[in-house]
Symmetry: C2
Subunit: 603 residues, 2 copies
């Protein structure tokens, strides 16, 4: 049954396509009377018929009557625009908390037919095996999900321990897999700049395979380091936030990927490079990077991004090019996807407005997949192996003692501590200091200062190891705890709370349900999100997962947290590559000096 | 010594490039203070320094001081424009009558640093072995000569016999050779449209190798046949002559290659698709297709084409994109050539005017190759094997009897004959009729009607076979004969003359000198061009070859020929794929019905 969505390469369907175009063989599908959104020439061409065979366009022109046979399905476009299926140039499926099948299910009706997905999160948990599993489910889908081989697991070697590592040998192996399109974002830019052997070996393996090296230059410095990074081979970057970032990347021969994720808003500030500075838009690409399931359900996917680009003043045809042919050309797939033209996969959607972009009917590989927001097929699901469903390995039952921060020997009634300071709507944290009371040799949190406990529980190797520290900014009141196995990038378990016992209960609960998010208040779990696939993804539909996340958010607010996106703020606290202070399985991390530090202020 | 021009892949030079960009290792070359012609962003960026190492750009930015060491060569650009080396998107080296080494020598000072060459002519003589030889000399050059595997030898199966054939197996084999970039122009479009097994197999082998299929749709019909051809996979086409041809090709996902060759003038009529209709120019490409050596010497190469495009009203940066990054992207080489950006081959030229485009200094792979029109290096030459230098195989000495057209048995004093009608400045011929006298059983030519003899001498298989017919339009007077081994596409020998004995002498002379062109008048050779390599190319410099051709033209005029380009008109008389009447080794060919026909009018 899953095979039904596969498509043969163009070179195996040449005869069939020529025969259909010549009128010697009937098409499977003809879309009649559309306005052809021609991203190749940047034109709108009215009164166009599209004939499809073997999942590909066989004929695009003014009259496909000669391609119509008895069994040809006819779709009357009635003057609607026929737009190439949208492509997301860089994204992480795991960010949706959904498996590839459920992610695909959620986005098809929004007109997205191609993803360039970097399974970076699962790679941190399951290594190359996790990548393979993501690829396997992706290859079963009726849309195109190309996979980028993650480059950086761990992303901060020496400062964290991942479940599994990605090696240059893994990269070399993966480059030979069908469906692997390149290397995922090379986020370890300091090591590329430094000429690190391993990072350059991963890039070299990708280039030698003729594939695309993804970039991730998360720095505002456009000086010598930037140039050294460029010489190291990354071909795109989605970390730009300013117009000058977009311009400098394109000038240097990179693709500027401008993202609108659930929590990324980097299109408006950069698209002026096109709309005001008038640069050639061909090397600009739109992407989402990270989309929560709730965004998919409520706002859409790449249709949302294109709409936003148009709202920012971008011409609709240019915005659509940035989500279709520009992406395809970047990955060397222009003869395969990204435009409506003979031989390409018959991926398209119909819409009656190029600015609002309401998506009516969606086709991929010539199949009618969605109509008026309703999916017409089921997306095939992988039978995930036990190894992928059993990734929360605590090794023992945790108790309240595990979540206490022991004061330094000889500490008096109070101690000066380092505190991770949460900054609303931003990934960087602050490195704060605070004086906290010591009781029976342990540091006490202090609701008055909005300081509570944070712990990092090792969950990959059954060590039962717990690192404790302090965090400020969540606004938690009363007795509560939140545990989550979404803990970028190595995805151990982050536990935040005001009560060590509840923290232990929340942590143990995730051991039982094998991953997700568990919120406890006053001795009971009051909300949870089950993410049993690698502790990161749910095999349930987006609507259901989104509903549990929304309920969690409601309960978090009831616990006193007023942050805009509390779940994401939690999930980033263990990310040691972004300043200033983080927690990892190895201890507290000064993410400015890139050193492990004591939780106490010893200056 | 030849190895000195090779360049390692980017992935083997990553460390070195990063080190140079970071200032840890000195660059080999720094070009200082240029205006960066940025074809990626379509901008001019003043005050740019370019640092080069390992033959590639390591740094492109405002200050490369940190890349300069003791041994770094500094070139002061003094505000000149730094333009990416020009790329010729489709061309035949053989048309220059020069070997690849001599062709490269002739074009470098004009700023061309990349050729996409289809060795179609030598393939007709020597098959895949000839392709390999062209590739071998090409790979030795200091500029980039990518080779397209010829697709159609013979171009008219059943109507001509080539020296060797190209098979789908040959194509599959060649796709694995380094330097083979795709399939050469698929000119047998009727067979693609018909779904012919062999043509589709060649295309499939190319696509399966991930390479580019060159197109050649020499027809004004944009109906069903055009669409069937498109479905068959050709990715570009240079046969368009009208604005509508360019537009329809780009809309259909092809690259429109607009050519300005020595005898092709297809830019002005098509570039309005950009300059007036406002199409996105990214899929438009400039090329020469065929350039005689005299054009290279007198007018230039791709600089001439870009200049012409600008004269036609195209913005200079768009015209330059069409000769640089557009070409590179089409062939999947955008990370290698076609722009000035980190990692790319350091191919560039300096100029002080973007409209006149005078080329001052030329660099390729970081080497300073030319300055003010003077070459600073020698282009390495292949030691061509005897098999390639001994291709005129007549099998015997020809005499006057071989060049007589025997009248039909029982013919009276005159006979009605078919006559090939030359049309000045056009490739198509006319199918004419004429009544000619018969003398001793043989047809006599008639200077009064401007009709003389034409013969096709088989030269590949030593058969000594000669086909005789009649031609009109050269204006030859007196006793003369011209023989040439440039005889598209199968390159036997064409002999045209008023005197059978001189025709035999000219033919025998080419047997002696092993190919070229020999002009005889009144019992003596009065001009000749020696083309010993496959009977098509000279190993001498362009200036010398051009001088002999110019002398030949002068003498042809003295023989009465006033045609603009007599040599080309001769060379196309055996091309059975273009209407209306042609000669081949198999007989007279009706190139409308694609049938062999009698030289006599039997209606």
């Amino acid at each position: 049954m899953h095979d039904s969505f596969t498509i043969a390469p163009w070179h195996q369907s040449l005869r069939q396509l020529v025969d259909v175009a010549a009128g010697r063989r009937p098409a499977d599908l003809v879309v009649r009377g559309a306005v052809w959104v021609n991203v190749q020439s940047r034109e709108l061409i009215p009164n166009t018929d599209l004939a499809v065979s073997a999942g590909r366009f066989a004929y695009c022109g003014e009259d496909a009557s000669h391609c119509v046979g008895e069994d040809t399905v006819i779709i009357e476009a009635d003057g609607k625009y026929a737009v190439p299926g949208l492509c997301d140039g860089h994204m992480h499926i795991e960010s949706g908390m959904l498996t590839p099948a459920r992610f695909a299910e959620a986005i098809i009706a929004h007109g997205t037919t191609t993803l360039f997905a970097d399974p970076h999160e699962i790679a941190n948990v399951l290594g190359i095996d996790g990548v393979r599993l993501m690829l396997n489910e992706s290859l079963m889908q009726p849309i195109n999900i190309y996979m980028q081989m993650p480059s950086c697991a761990p992303s901060a070697p020496g400062l964290e321990t991942t479940g599994r590592c990605i090696t240059p040998e893994d990269v070399t192996e993966a480059m030979a897999w069908p469906g692997i399109i390149g290397l995922g974002e090379m986020m370890n830019f300091p090591d590329v700049v430094a000429g690190d052997q391993q990072m350059l070996a991963e890039i070299a393996a990708t280039q030698a395979a003729g594939k695309t090296v993804g970039g991730h230059y998360a720095s505002l410095d456009l000086g010598v380091d930037f140039h050294a990074y460029l010489a190291g081979g990354p071909a795109d970057d989605h970390e730009g936030t300013r117009e000058t970032d977009a311009i400098s990347r394109v000038r240097q021969g990179m693709r500027s990927m401008m993202r609108l994720g659930s929590a990324w808003y980097d299109v408006a500030s950069q698209i002026t490079a096109i709309t005001e500075k008038g640069l050639d838009p061909r090397h600009f690409i739109l992407c989402t990077d990270d989309c929560f399931c709730a965004t998919l359900v409520e706002d859409g996917h790449m249709d949302r991004v294109v709409r936003h680009a148009i709202d920012c003043g971008c011409a609709p045809l240019v915005a659509l090019q940035m989500a279709t042919i520009n992406v395809a050309e970047h990955f060397g797939l222009e003869r395969e996807i990204g435009s409506i033209a003979p031989g390409r996969r018959a991926d398209l959607f119909l819409t009656d407005c190029l600015t609002e972009l309401p998506v009516s009917d969606v086709f991929a590989r010539g199949r009618h997949l969605a109509s008026q927001g309703k999916l017409l097929i089921e997306t095939p699901r992988l039978d995930w192996p036990v190894a992928a469903l059993n990734t929360v390995k605590l090794g023992r039952t945790l108790d309240a003692h595990d979540f206490r921060l022991k004061a330094p020997n000889g500490a008096a009634s109070s101690v000066r501590c380092k505190v991770i300071g949460v900054v609303e709507n931003q990934a960087p944290t602050k490195h704060l200091k605070a004086i906290l009371p010591v009781c029976h040799g342990f540091v006490k949190s202090d609701p008055e200062q909005d300081i509570c406990h944070i712990a990092l529980v090792e969950r990959h190797r059954r060590t039962g190891h717990v690192v404790n520290a302090l965090v400020r900014g969540f606004g938690y009141r009363g007795s509560m705890a939140l545990a989550s196995t979404i803990a970028h990038d190595s995805h151990h378990m982050i536990v935040v709370g005001t009560d060590p016992l509840l923290m232990a209960q929340a942590a143990n609960r995730l051991g039982t349900i094998q991953g997700g998010i568990s919120l406890w208040r006053d001795d009971a779990e009051i909300a949870s999100v089950h993410l049993p696939v690698a502790g990161l993804m749910s095999p349930l539909p987006a609507q259901e997962v989104a509903a549990t996340v929304m309920q969690l958010n409601t309960e978090l607010a009831a616990c006193g947290c007023q942050l805009n996106n509390a779940v994401m703020q939690h999930s980033l606290l263990a990310l040691p590559v972004i300043p200033e202070l983080r927690i990892s399985d190895l201890g507290l991390v000064d993410a400015v000096s890139f050193k492990l530090v004591s939780p106490f202020d010893e200056d």
